[in-house]
């Protein structure tokens, strides 16, 4: 039997601490696709690239490098389901491999905790593992609950694909990877004008001024409505998911406008399509439902209850 691909699983903060349904769904989906996830014991905050990177670059890079060294111990690549964590770990890994001054400063900090950045591993996003390691064909074969007639609006977010010249993932003006993966479930793609716009949460803006952050999010929702609406919004990032999901409760409070979109991480969409019961990973624990005491629109999502 061929060896199963294995990844160090970088959880970050939002997935394990606020949206654990994403963590559970990911474990189910990776198992279904014959990929192993290894615990990264003692991993910390990535730390948030737009936040800590904005405060002090050396500290940001050193804490990120500490996380990287946990994986370097045995050499498996890292995978993470958060665009922010991906950006921090990928960028730090890249910059430390290419900027000797930074590497020297970072290793001076790591020496304090008996670690050293060696630059021996790669950082991937779940999306990479799904698209490149498992592959679209394998995913298509696993689909036992086709999302037939379910209209999916996509929110790719920013930090997986940008900066495009550095990350070299795909054309950030015409991305296709999230769309290709989502379409394996048999759902219908809903294009809308502001699909590629930021959710508004990043860069420490959500913390600086939540109303400005929510104004971005509101524009995205209005853009989806202008395109005829959607049955779900799919994203590869838990921070975007928090902003789009919990953000609806906050928009209602700050702007007096009510939206009721179901927002799914790509892992959650795949878990449903692969036949898992939504209770198996707790889809109804999204903070929007917990705070509003509501449930997902099961019928719209193609789920019989």
């Amino acid at each position: 039997m061929p060896k199963r691909p294995a990844f160090y699983h970088f959880l970050g903060c939002i997935i394990p601490h606020r949206y654990p349904s994403i963590e559970k769904a990911t474990r189910l989906v990776f198992e279904d696709l014959d990929m192993d996830l290894l615990d990264m014991e003692g991993a910390t905050c990535c730390p948030a690239p737009g936040v800590f990177g904005s405060f002090e670059r050396i500290t940001w890079a050193t804490i990120a490098a500490r996380n990287l060294t946990i994986a370097e111990e045995t050499g498996h690549p890292i995978t993470t389901g958060c665009n922010g964590c991906f950006a921090s770990l990928w960028d730090a890994n890249y910059e430390l491999k290419h900027d000797e001054d930074l590497r020297e400063a970072v290793n001076a900090g790591l020496k304090e905790i008996d670690r050293e950045f060696k630059g021996t591993i790669e950082v991937t996003h779940y999306v990479d593992a799904l698209y490149n390691t498992a592959g679209l064909e394998k995913m298509r074969k696993r689909v036992v609950r086709p999302m037939k007639g379910v209209r999916m609006a996509l929110h790719p977010g920013c930090h997986f694909m940008r900066p495009k010249l550095l990350k070299k993932k795909e054309d950030s003006e015409r991305p296709h990877i999230l769309k290709d993966i989502s379409l394996t479930t048999g759902g219908e793609y809903v294009p809308y004008k502001d699909e590629l716009m930021c959710c508004g949460a990043g860069g420490a803006v959500r913390t600086a001024d939540i109303k400005i952050a929510l104004d971005f999010t509101k524009q995205k929702f209005e853009s989806i409505q202008a395109a005829g609406g959607a049955d779900m919004i799919v994203t590869p990032c838990p921070f975007c998911e928090l902003q789009l999901d919990l953000g609806q409760v906050e928009i209602e409070k700050h702007f007096g406008v009510k939206f009721e979109f179901d927002v799914l991480h790509i892992s959650e969409l795949l878990a449903l399509a692969f036949g898992h019961d939504p209770d198996e990973f707790g889809l109804d624990t999204h903070l929007q439902y917990m705070q509003r005491k509501t449930e997902p629109h099961w019928e719209q999502l193609g789920i019989k209850r």
């Binding site: 014991e41 670059r57 500290t59 420490a204 400005i212």
Partner: protein, 183 residues
């Protein structure tokens, strides 16, 4: 079209010639390639709803107007979406320039209290968004996961590592509560 309001000329009495060099050293090495085309601001979702103007900040920085750049509240409205970086014809990497100016602002004491609190959380718990309530553990159990994940929430030695790193880079001092904040 001109504004009906009278605009005073930009005062350049004391340009800080070091500022551009500081930005270049702090993570924005390409700032001097900017020829002020405005593609960045035209692409900017923050600029579409606030007075955050990437082109303006870069111009001010190139003129040595350090104080105006680092003290501007709108400096913190960039979500770092990198759309400007992907579209800039001069490879200025405006997002990195903004982040570099933010680093300098923080060094000089311009840091929002909310941001300080997030930074402190990482030093206290290892996470910017910590597992700080029992209800979060219950939520994990509800979805069929162990109550405490195998990250710094379970391994306190990881938090000690982060604190040591922050001491070494003096980040701990940078984000500690200043006297005037404690009222």
């Amino acid at each position: 079209m001109t504004s009906a309001e009278e605009k005073p000329p930009i005062v350049l009495d004391e340009p800080d010639r070091e500022f551009v060099e500081m930005i270049k050293r702090t993570g924005g090495p390409n700032i001097q390639s900017c020829y002020q085309c405005g593609t960045c601001s035209g692409s900017c979702p923050a600029g579409a709803r606030t007075n955050f103007l990437v082109r303006g900040i870069i111009r001010k920085a190139l003129l040595g107007m350090k104080q105006e750049c680092i003290s501007a509240p709108e400096l913190w409205y960039c979500t770092t979406c990198y759309t400007c970086t992907d579209r800039c014809p001069q490879d200025v990497k405006p997002t990195d320039v903004i982040k570099a100016i933010r680093n300098i602002a923080v060094q000089e004491g311009y840091m929002l209290q909310n941001h300080q609190k997030v930074a402190q959380k990482v030093l206290e718990t290892g996470h910017a968004v910590p597992l700080d309530k029992e209800s979060w553990q219950k939520l994990r159990e509800k979805v069929g996961l162990e109550p405490i994940p195998p990250n710094a929430s379970r391994f306190p030695e990881a938090i000690a590592d982060v604190v040591k790193i922050a001491k070494k880079t003096h980040f701990d001092k940078l984000v500690e509560d200043k006297d005037e904040d404690e009222e």
